[in-house]
């Protein structure tokens, strides 16, 4: 029953966008989104205590199962923190953005995600999915800069070809199986698929797999992620990285796994895709110098971890017995990592946004020394960085550990190799986040001496998430109850993490670590000598802010060692970009027949920028043009018409119309 109110809050939030003032529209709609996300959390609690519920939401059939509850939890936590944060954050787009666009798109985005993970019908699933894509597309070009618009157009076209088309084909397949649009619930499709021939299953599953791979940025399709997340406002990037990618994971579990069914080889395929993705994404992130692009590639990498965990589950659960238990542990770890990733990745995007809010840039080469002035933001970023790198006692450690354990014990060479790769790449993640934290908050820079801490709601938004990384890390028992949908052999408080592993108590660890740190601090108390300037050979021309290692120079030697990998990837990227470019050209060629450039009629239209540069006339406007012209001429012919004359004429017209109607 909470979910109706949540959707209602989102609708109200969208309507609040029609307040004329930009700031009040954005603040009110963000607050309504905050309330709606809180209500989603209430729904999770409801399902957790009372079991799955079926709701009829304004005619939409909803089925909130235990799997849906996990994803509602993710959307709820991310939505709550991000909406609270966005109340202040969205002020920086006051010049360029439009309040009502943000209000409607943002609330629709959250509501459509909540619908995707709860609807119980294939057609509504596809419709909500498209709504999610469309609203996120609108939010990506919210800043209206040229580079951002290009990024969002490419994002939408990628989604169109690799998401919409496969999903609609899958919908058609489901229709041909069931035979009626009224009965397209997942249950009916599942029972129809049981008796369907094998190739139908492969087509249905393959189409869905392509769609979900694209949305979660799995390797061949990871190209759209970085530029899209860079272009979007940071709060929207946080929701996209934190929640939208996880919705694709819901699709993988609820549609591919539960409906089509799983086999050993399908599980291996998913795990292999995950293992490749986590390597590619993280290694790409290592060389990025833009904070948001770095985080975007890391979210690709972390989705690889999650797919590896789910893949272990898909491969091993059908086997049953001891291996089945390990598989359930892997799937549980994948889900747990999905939740953890949602928490820390949104937190990191929010801290990048906080830095952007005060300094106006997210380019790591130009940042530095913010730790002194933005203490709370810096500490939140540190917590989230440690969590994503898998450092105990933060939450990322436990889920990563469970993925390693289930991979090692799976008895399959490929899965074990994936787990080893995951452990190795975790170190690369740490290296990358040393760069992320060190370049932004470490050192000192005169350029940012005047920077102040961000407003209270932004700090609150970051700290809800950063606090949760520590809370879940120390007391994993708070969420394992909701997450354990695969009946994995985990104990309530995860004291004994993993399977046949040694005893590890997060609480004891924290106490021990605290005592050690405090003891070391007392024993080796740091003493500070005199402060000295850097030696600049007596130069007076060099800016002192330049005396440091910038983000580009952190790992340049290591990047050169794997230069071949980067060049290979860049070649692929160039090919993909060329394909997308020609698709865009094709669309514009089609559009040029519906659009007429007004001021210089025979201009060649070659890119989106050409259309935006000059005043254009759409096809429907051209059809109405004679009428508009006639009215204008009429206005010119009858100048200075008196009010009395007008009223008489109007009365005569109305009388004639009524007379005609009466006669008929």
């Amino acid at each position: 029953m909470f979910i109706e109110y949540a959707i209602g809050a989102f609708i109200l939030g969208g309507l609040l966008g029609f307040i004329r003032d930009y700031k009040s529209a954005v603040k009110a709609s963000s607050f309504m989104a905050f309330l709606g996300s809180l209500l989603l959390l209430g729904e999770v609690y409801n399902v957790y205590t009372n079991g799955p519920v079926k709701v009829n939401l304004y005619g939409l059939p909803l089925n909130v199962t235990d799997v849906s509850a996990v994803f509602l939890l993710i959307i709820g936590i991310v939505g709550t923190a991000v909406s609270l944060y966005a109340i202040s954050y969205m002020d920086i787009f006051e010049r360029t953005g439009k309040g009502w666009v943000y209000a409607i798109a943002y609330n629709t985005f959250l509501a459509s995600m909540a619908l995707v993970v709860t609807v119980d019908s294939m057609e509504y699933f596809v419709v909500s999915w498209e709504l999610m894509t469309l609203s996120s597309f609108i939010l990506v070009f919210f800043s209206e800069r040229k580079r951002d618009v290009n990024a969002s157009a490419k994002y939408y076209i990628t989604m169109h070809f690799l998401d919409t088309i496969p999903l609609f084909l899958a919908l058609g397949t489901a229709y041909s199986l069931v035979g009626s649009f009224d009965k397209l619930s997942f249950e009916n499709i599942g029972s129809a698929l049981m008796t369907a021939p094998a190739h139908t299953k492969i087509v249905f599953g393959g189409l869905l797999l392509i769609a979900f791979m694209t949305k979660s940025g799995i390797t061949p399709f990871q190209f759209w992620v970085a530029e899209t997340y860079r272009a979007a406002p940071s709060s929207v990037s946080a929701v996209m990285a934190g929640a939208m990618e996880k919705v694709a994971l819901y699709g993988l579990i609820a549609l591919v796994w539960k409906l089509v069914g799983t086999t050993y080889s399908l599980g291996l395929l998913v795990a292999l895709l995950g293992a490749i993705t986590l390597t590619v994404g993280t290694l790409y992130a290592l060389r990025e110098t833009n904070a948001k692009r770095l985080l975007a590639y890391h979210s690709v990498g972390q989705m690889g971890y999650i797919w590896l965990g789910i893949g272990i589950g898909m491969a091993l659960i059908p086997k049953g017995g001891a291996l089945g238990a390990i598989g359930a542990l892997g799937a549980f770890a994948g889900l747990f990592h999905a939740l953890n990733h949602a928490i820390f990745k949104s937190s990191l995007f929010l801290s990048a946004g906080a830095v952007e809010y005060r300094t106006g840039t997210v380019e790591l080469n130009e940042l530095g020394g913010l730790g002194k002035h933005m203490k709370w933001t810096a500490l939140a970023a540190l917590f989230a960085s440690l969590a994503i790198s898998g450092v105990p006692p933060f939450n990322g450690f436990i889920s990563k550990w469970l993925i390693y354990v289930s991979g090692y014990q799976s008895g399959n060479l490929l899965l074990a190799f994936g787990a080893v790769l995951a452990a190795l790449i975790s170190a690369a993640t740490l290296a990358s986040f040393v760069k992320f934290y060190g370049t932004q908050f470490g050192g000192e820079m005169e350029r940012y001496e005047e920077v102040r801490e961000v407003p209270g709601t932004m700090i609150a938004g970051q700290w809800i998430l950063a606090g949760l990384t520590l809370l879940i890390g120390i007391f994993p028992g708070t969420v394992t109850g909701v997450l354990n949908v695969f009946n994995a052999p985990v104990e309530g408080n995860l004291y004994k993490i993993g399977f046949k592993s040694v005893l590890f108590s997060p609480v004891l660890f924290v106490i021990l670590l605290g005592v050690l740190v405090f003891g070391f601090y007392l024993a080796l108390k740091p003493s500070y000598g005199k402060e000295a300037k850097p030696w600049d050979c007596g130069s007076t021309q060099i800016d002192e802010d330049e005396y440091r290692i910038n983000a580009e120079g952190y790992y340049i030697k290591y990047e050169r060692k794997i230069d071949g990998f980067y060049r290979f990837g860049d070649w692929f990227y160039a090919v993909g970009a060329a394909i997308i470019h020609y698709i865009v050209r094709g669309y514009i060629w089609m559009a040029s027949y519906f659009v007429k450039i007004v001021d210089t009629p025979y201009t060649k239209v070659e890119s989106v920028a050409d259309l935006r540069k000059s005043e254009v006339l759409y096809g429907d406007e051209e059809a109405l043009k004679p009428l508009v012209r006639f009215l204008r001429i009429a206005c010119d012919v009858l100048p200075g018409i008196r009010l009395g004359t007008f009223v008489v004429l109007a009365l005569i017209t109305v009388g004639v119309v009524i007379g005609i109607l009466m006669a008929l």
């Binding site: 000295a532 300037k533 030696w535 050979c537 007596g538």
Partner: protein, 201 residues
Amino acid sequence: MWIIKGLRKGVITSDYPKKVSDDELSPSFPLKAPAECPFGAVEDGKFDLKRCISCRLCSVPFGRKLDVDEVTNPLNFKRSLHVFFLDVGTCHACNREVAQLHSPYYDVHRLGIFFTPTPKHADVLLVAGCPTDGMIPVLKEAYELMPEPKRVLVLGACSSGALCERKVEDFVPVDGYVAGCPPNPVQIIRGLLKMAGRDVE
């Protein structure tokens, strides 16, 4: 094989500080002592080493070919020394002599003397030249940045006030000098070794 042979044989270019050949020191022309030194090095019969520029017009420094330095406050290292060379306004003659120290002939590395790129790593600040307006703050800053214990050794006549009005002493405390215009590389090495507290003779 060749390397081992070469190492075993050893090619000694300069015997200093064991002994000094006359070739390594500047030639002098032993004329009779003038009544009055044009540079003011001889006053009332007393010889002021600081003001002597080794012009070789007189025989006064002849007997003191090597002994042209005075170190008042040596370091008690007795081992290797890290030196930062700072040019505060030379005619570049001193720089050329200092650059000779790295050459294979003198090769100060064999004596454990190293030149550092920053004063933060240095024990001794080797200053040459007459301090100019632009370099005075740099000289002070370089002295500030050096870690304790630190010493300043000045090179040549101009930095010790023989030829121009300013001298290095006015800005940073000076602990020793090597006279000459310019001082010979061997003389500079001797001054540095004395500064390190290593007895040369």
